[in-house]
Structures are given as structure tokens and as C-alpha cells.
């Protein structure tokens, strides 16, 4: 086990024009930490993994695993293991031989090899399957063999490239818990790449958000969720997405639609107001500043309802707001609702730079402030 340091990683794929897949990526993954890299398709997250693994040659930068610079070493010399999205099991070899392959390549003595293979097989409940070939296994079993092949030689670092994306939803949840359990037990430094933010939030001790090859934010899941660094992170993290309203700030007063709020420390200019669905309430008993909305449609999820609604007076093509409501609240389409805003959950972003605007105090309704004054 060892820390991984990515120092100024840059990867450009040649072409006309060249494609910049990664740009100046700096990231340190602590010893034994599991970091989840998440982002939309094409953001460069798999490229990071491939650069760490040595499957891609860096255009610039350094990869340090433990105390060694490894960017010029071939993949087999980096002492890392990788689980692929497709599992990449050798189809002509039995499960036993698949698990034994990395050990054989390192000339591990036969007895040690056998003991290690059987230990990992036991841990992953693969012992009854050792004589089968990958073609005779189910998706979950294959996934487990792929994990086993990565674990069998106790590598310094563990790279996982969307390992659960080929599984159905139920098995995915199960395997996610198993990966978390394995990591808790072995504490191998791990990089987990996924496009599924639920996977990233639940597995990662820290999550790293990439967009267009650039690091957007890195931090513990709760911190990234509550304090997104910019509009991209705010919109990407969280299901359903954060609601965005355009507005203006003028001498510390924020105006967005019907909202008039005091935003201490906000510079004057155009802003985007972000508020998560749980920061909006359709309960008529709630007090606070409110927005009038017209319901577009409702998604009944069983445990709750997601209400898609258009803010009254907003542009017709504006993205609808999404509200979480208890399942007893089931409005009809075109019904008008009054939505109360929890101002403590409001976030402000500069419309031009898309960066989060740090505030010097809590956002409160202007009227409350005047009354308090």
C-alpha cells in the first residue's frame, strides 16, 4: 500500500485538432484511501486511470506511487492492479488460472501461488467455481473473479474502471457494498472511476470531479455536495440536480424572480442561485420567502414524488425546477403551487466565472433583516 501522487498530469491525443484529455491535474491520494473519480462521459476520468496504470503515455507530468516515479515504467512494473469495466478475464483460462496469472508472471513459487489463489477464492466465495471458465460464469461471478485477480498479489494500488456498470441495479448495489467491505478490510490505496455519482458518493472517502479534463473539485462527498466549488459541480452532484435561478445582486441584495434576499458579501452583478430540491418545500405551513410555480409533471417514486415545475414568470424554455414532496402530495399538471425556499440552503454562483461566491453571512429575506434591524 502506498500513496499516489499525480503531479501536473497532461494528456493530449494527437489528431487534427489534438484532443486534450487531461490538463494540469494535481491530486494526492493518501495511503489506504479510496478516491472516486466522477464526471460525465469524455471528462478524462478513465484517462487518469490509464495514465496511472501505464496504459497511456503522459504528455507531461509525473505519477508517483509510493516513493517511486513510475510514469516511464511499463504497466507490469508499477505494482498496481486494475479491474476493467469489461472484467477482461482471459476466456481460455479457468477461474483458477485467471487468478494465478499475475502471480505466474511474477514467478511466484507454486506452493505460495496456490495458497494465495485459494485464499482470495475463499474470501470472494469463488472456490466452487475455480475450474470453470469465464464463459460459464454469471456477470456477478465474473466481476468477483476480476476483483480476485486484482487482489491476489496484494498490489500497492488498486484501480477500478467502472467495474459495476455492466451489472443490473440490484447486483450493483450488492457488489458496491462488497467492494466497500473489501476496502475496509484491506485498506489498499484505490482509485475508483465511475460515471455514477451514487457509486462515487457511497464508496469514495473523497470524490474528485472532472470536467473536460480539468479538476473541478476534490473533497469528502458531503462537503462536495454541500459546498460545490462551481456551477458544474453543483449541477453534476446530487440526484435530482440542483435547481438554478438567474438573478442579480446589488449592494448585498439578491433579486431572483420573486425572491428578494440579503446576501452579505456578494459582489454586484449577475448571479446564479442554486438550491437543492430538499431546500424547497411545498408544505403550506412552512414560513419563509416563496416562489409561485406551475406544475409540469410529477414522477411518483413510491417513497416520494418529484415535482417538475416552472417558476411563474420565468422564460418558457427555462429548465424546470425539481421539488421533492411527500408521496401524499400529488399535484396535477398545470396546478399552481407556492414553494417555500429554505434560504440557509441557497448557494450563489458568479454567472460569468461560474465559481461559487463565498458569503460573509447567512442569506436571509430582506424583510426579516429590516424587521430585526
Amino acid at each position: 500500500m502506498a500513496p499516489i501522487v499525480l503531479d501536473g498530469l497532461r494528456k493530449v491525443y494527437p489528431g487534427k485538432p489534438p484532443v486534450v484529455a487531461l490538463e494540469a491535474l494535481d491530486l494526492t491520494i493518501d495511503d489506504g484511501e479510496l478516491v472516486a473519480i466522477v464526471g460525465p462521459s469524455g471528462c478524462g476520468k478513465s484517462t487518469v486511470l490509464r495514465c496511472v496504470a501505464g496504459l497511456e503515455k503522459l504528455s507531461a507530468g509525473r505519477v508517483i506511487i509510493g516513493n517511486r516515479e513510475v510514469q516511464d515504467l511499463p504497466p507490469g512494473k508499477r505494482d498496481i492492479a486494475m479491474v476493467f469495466q469489461t472484467y477482461a478475464l482471459y476466456p481460455h483460462l479457468t477461474v483458477y488460472k485467471n487468478l494465478a496469472f499475475p502471480l505466474k508472471e511474477r514467478h511466484v513459487p507454486r506452493q505460495t501461488l496456490d495458497a494465495q489463489v485459494r485464499r482470495v477464492a475463499e474470501m470472494l466465495e469463488l472456490t466452487p467455481l475455480l475450474r470453470r471458465r469465464p464463459g460459464q460464469l454469471s456477470g456477478g461471478q465474473r466481476q468477483r473473479v476480476a476483483m480476485g485477480r486484482a487482489l491476489v498479489r496484494e498490489p500497492l494500488a488498486f484501480l477500478l474502471d467502472e467495474p459495476l456498470s455492466n451489472l443490473d441495479a440490484k447486483l450493483r448495489t450488492q457488489m458496491r457494498n462488497e467492494i466497500a467491505a473489501i476496502h475496509r478490510r484491506l485498506r489498499i490505496t484505490s482509485i475508483y472511476v465511475t460515471h455514477d455519482q451514487v457509486e462515487a458518493m457511497t464508496l469514495g472517502e473523497r470524490i474528485v470531479i472532472l470536467h473536460e479534463g480539468r479538476l473541478q473539485q476534490a473533497g469528502p462527498p458531503a462537503e462536495v455536495y454541500e459546498n460545490p466549488a462551481n456551477l458544474f459541480v453543483a449541477g453534476f452532484i446530487g440526484t435530482p440536480s440542483m435547481n438554478m435561478l438567474t438573478g442579480r445582486t446589488d449592494r448585498g441584495v439578491l433579486t431572483a424572480g420573486a425572491l428578494r434576499l440579503l446576501a452579505p458579501g456578494a459582489p454586484d452583478g449577475s448571479v446564479v442561485v442554486g438550491i437543492r430540491p430538499e431546500g424547497l418545500s411545498v408544505d403550506p405551513g412552512d414560513a419563509g420567502p416563496a416562489l409561485d410555480v406551475v406544475v409540469s409533471h410529477v414522477e411518483a417514486l413510491g417513497n416520494e414524488n418529484l415535482i417538475y415545475a416552472q417558476v411563474t414568470g420565468a422564460e418558457p424554455d427555462a429548465t424546470p425546477m425539481i421539488l421533492r414532496a411527500p408521496r401524499r402530495v400529488l399535484p396535477r399538471s398545470d396546478e399552481r403551487l407556492r414553494v417555500t425556499v429554505d434560504t440557509s440552503q441557497l448557494l450563489l454562483f458568479d454567472k460569468a466565472t461560474e465559481l461559487r461566491i463565498p458569503l460573509s453571512g447567512p442569506v436571509v429575506p430582506v424583510d426579516d433583516h429590516q424587521a430585526a434591524g
Binding site: 504497466p75 492492479a81 481460455h92 470453470r132 460459464q136 454469471s138 456477478g140 461471478q141 447486483l171
Partner: protein, 292 residues
Amino acid sequence: MSIAPATRALVEPLPEDDQLEGTRRRRPSAWHFLLLPLSLVMLTPLLWMLVTAVSTNAESRHFPPRLPHSIHWANFGDVWTTSPFGHWLLNTAIVSLVVVVSNLVLCSTAGYAFARLRFRGSGLVFILLLATLMVPFQVVLIPTLLIVKSFGLIDRLGALVVPNLVTAFGVFLMRQFFLALPPDLEEAGRIDGASRFGVFRKILLPLMGPPLATLAILTFLEIWNDFLWPLVAIQSPQNMTMQLGLSTFEGAHMTDWPLLMAATLMSQLPVIVLFLAGQRVFVRSIASSGIK
């Protein structure tokens, strides 16, 4: 760590392919009424060859053709005594074997290089290679002859081997196979510690069975049955291959048909055995290569 019962149920083993295969039943269809007579038509030349091979010279000239009074096995022995048939067989076997092996090795490695290795001009080189497929052999016959002559190989078995060591078609076939393989397999092998050649030998080679069988069969058939190039490159009877040797049974004024057919039948035995042994691979190879 333990696996929940729900997961265990989800990951229960799947039925094996052989079991599924065994449940299929072939039933006669209307197509068989058309295909059976057609296959008899296709068999006729082979049967005629067989009948002629065991006939006397007089019986073979009889019109309308008829079955011989008795089976004249001596024709097969006469082929061996009246001609250097053993030499021809050995020459053909040597040339075919060397060419098949060299094609398997060189076409698969070249195909891998074109599919996986990034090098300057690889696309252009591959297109040029493909372009050679469009040129009929008759066009390059004379230049090939001059090149082989400059190597000092005329009238030697090397003349039959060298121009066929690697073929553009074989490279193309193997490249397409490698392109269809997921690169993850090779990358996993490299991360697991295998060298590039180790990945090729331990991971890819065992998966190359079908395309290698296709290439081997097609190359073998082409070399075993080749007539034109040996006719140009070989003169002495001792160095002739089978197809060239068979032509010596044909005279300007008279042909010993029973001997020719007996020799032809024997020359085709390896091909027939190969076909019967690998019928399934053979049919698949023709289908997958899109040629005949």
C-alpha cells in the same frame, strides 16, 4: 466477507453451452429435396475420377461410360513405379507445411502490429498491402520470377516457398481478428506483468484458434493445388510438386486416364482427409473469409 443469500441466488451458475447445443434437433425440410440431388451432381466428378482410377485404359475410353468389370487396383501401384510420385508428394508436403507455418507466424504477428501498434505510416503501408490483393497473380508473375531468379532459387523448392511466406490476405484476416478482440484483454495482461510478446503468446495465441485454422486451411489448399507458379519456377521432375507432376501424365496425343485419375485421387487424399477432419472449421473458414 460474506455474500448475502439474495446475491448468491443471482449468481447461480448458468447452463453450459453444450447442454443447450444438445437440445437442438435437425429435421428434414423441403430444402433437402433440392440439396440432395444437387450434392449428387457435385459428387459426380469425384465418383467418375474414382471409377476411372480403378478401370483399365480401354474401359476408361468406353462410351457411354460404364462401371469396370473388375476393380483394377494396379493403377495406384503403377503411379508410384512409373513416375517420381513419392518425390512430388514429399515436395508438395514440404512446401505446403513450410508456407502454412510461415503464414501462421508472420501473418498473425504482422496483423497484430497493424491492429495494435502505433507506428508512423502504418495506415499507408496497410492500404498498400491491401492494394496488392487487387492485382492478379498473372500480372506479377514475371517480376516475381525475376526476383526469385536473382535469389538463385529457380528450379528449387525455395522458389515455391519464398514468394508465399506471407500473404496480404493472411495479414488482413489476422488484423481484422485482432481489431475485433477487446484491447482490455491485452491491457490486463500487461498490468498483470506479461511483456507484449508474453501477452501475444499466452493470451492472444490461445484465442486465435478459429482465424489461424481458417488461414491454415486456405493457405494449405492454395499451395497444395497451385499449378501456375510451380509450372514457371520448376523444371526438373525431381523438384516438381503434385499438381505439376500430374500434368506429366497427359501426353500430346494420348493420356493414360486411369493412371492420371489414380494419381489425382491420391493427390487429393490429404485434402479430403483435411476436409473430413475439420469440416466445421473448413465451412466456417470459407464463410468468414468471404471467398471460395
